[in-house]
Amino acid sequence: MTPPQPPTQAEISAEIAALSGSRPGLAHPDRGYAPYRSSVLRHPGKPLVVVKDPEAVELTGPAFGVSDVTDLDSDLTRQHTGEPQGERMTVTGRVLDRDGRPVRGQLVEVWQANAAGRYAHQRDDHPAPLDPHFTGAGRCLTDDEGRYAFTTIKPGPYPWRNHTNAWRPAHIHFSLFGRAFTQRLITQMYFPGDPLFPYDPILQSVTDEAARNRLIATYDHDLSVPEWSLGYRWDIVLDGPAATWIEEGR
């Protein structure tokens, strides 16, 4: 059996163009988005069963506290004995629900490639240097205003094998908990002006342009620290019902 040839960027770009603007007004990507080849066999073929009245199990969520996070967890540049390579930056923003209420005291987890575009993961065989001073995983709890903040270095873009000449735009993975399990979200934050955006089927899987733009952070010069770091701001809005009867400050 001859393995099928990977598609060219032109073929993937044509598929992206054909789906662009589909699902207007819908924030979340279709789980079966063919230009992202890994999705083809990994999405349900049957419609999801709509549960109009979620049970309390879905309308509550796990609790995380000070024992789950250490002070150094939110500074990805201080997890080793030396300085990591790359452009130091801070990323901050608020986690809100769809009513604009801050999501307080909840766990935010991030992971990312190093400045050279390589993950500290055994299965990342991209021939870019590993950085002994950078692992790329962090976590924090949101404060009373729903704010999170991380100090890290800007991740590099990296190749992947979805198609020939496939490169991921620089991004940071975010994992979020809300007040309800239904608000659970894993997403990716991108950087403004990245020339790789139009070529990337994972970002372009969000086919509504306004929704896609919500994945891109804003550079905030007032957040930049002289001689030290650049600042990016990115707010996150969690979808899904939250139980109104839960004490908001939980």
């Binding site: 990507p29 990994r42 349900p44 999801l48 109009k52 205003e145 919500r214």
Partner: protein, 202 residues
């Protein structure tokens, strides 16, 4: 804080795939050991995550949130517990039931959780384990529920699932393999088997 509710709902941040490299950030040692150490009521639920070709998915992440034996959903912090000196993972304290489990599938696509049977979270409720599945290739996570077989009849009477065929509804019920050990496979897509029923909380 007193933030007034916005007149129009805010637009949600879109989901993106967990990708292949979450392994050093999300899973934690003991993530599958939800039952307090030595609890006599401990059960094991295990299974595989399969794709549409019937191949196991080695890079999926399964999360579980559930009531405790008494039906309480209060949860307790301390699922992740970090060492304040080294930042390393201490794991659970083995005493509290936190209600939250996080399990990465292994190289063979298999996962398991050792937990306690959930109690009814309200009078007359059918207890279950709420499951959230992430995987490389899955652009938006999926929710499902694990029911223990003794609750299969109550599940069949639940109007929310009345439209489903018997075969589809059975995908929400674990199979007891031997006392205290249950099998629950998650099929992301039909084709090689009956696709798991996934839920949309409108």
């Amino acid at each position: 804080m007193g933030t007034p509710a916005s007149p129009a709902p805010l637009e949600p941040t879109p989901s993106q795939t967990v990708g292949p490299f979450y392994g050093y950030a999300l899973p934690f040692t003991g993530g599958e050991e939800l039952a307090p150490v030595g609890h006599p009521g401990t059960i094991t639920v295990h299974g595989y995550v399969y794709d549409g070709a019937g191949a196991p998915v080695p890079d999926a992440l399964v999360e579980i949130w559930q009531a405790d034996e008494a039906g309480s959903l209060k949860g307790a912090p301390g699922s992740l517990r970090r060492d304040p000196v080294t930042g390393g993972i201490l794991g659970r304290n083995g005493v509290d039931f936190t209600g939250f489990a996080r399990i990465a599938t292994d190289a063979s696509g298999r996962w398991f959780v050792r937990t306690l049977p959930p109690g009814p979270h309200r009078d007359g409720a059918v207890p279950y384990l709420s499951v959230c599945v992430f995987a490389r290739g899955l652009l938006h996570h999926l929710f499902t529920r694990i029911h223990l077989p003794e609750h299969a009849a109550a599940l069949a009477a639940d109007p929310a699932f009345g439209e489903l065929s018997e075969a589809r509804r059975q995908t929400l019920v674990a199979v007891e393999e031997r006392p205290g050990v249950y099998r629950f496979d998650i099929r992301l897509q039909g084709g090689a088997g009956e696709e798991t029923v996934f839920l949309d909380f409108a």
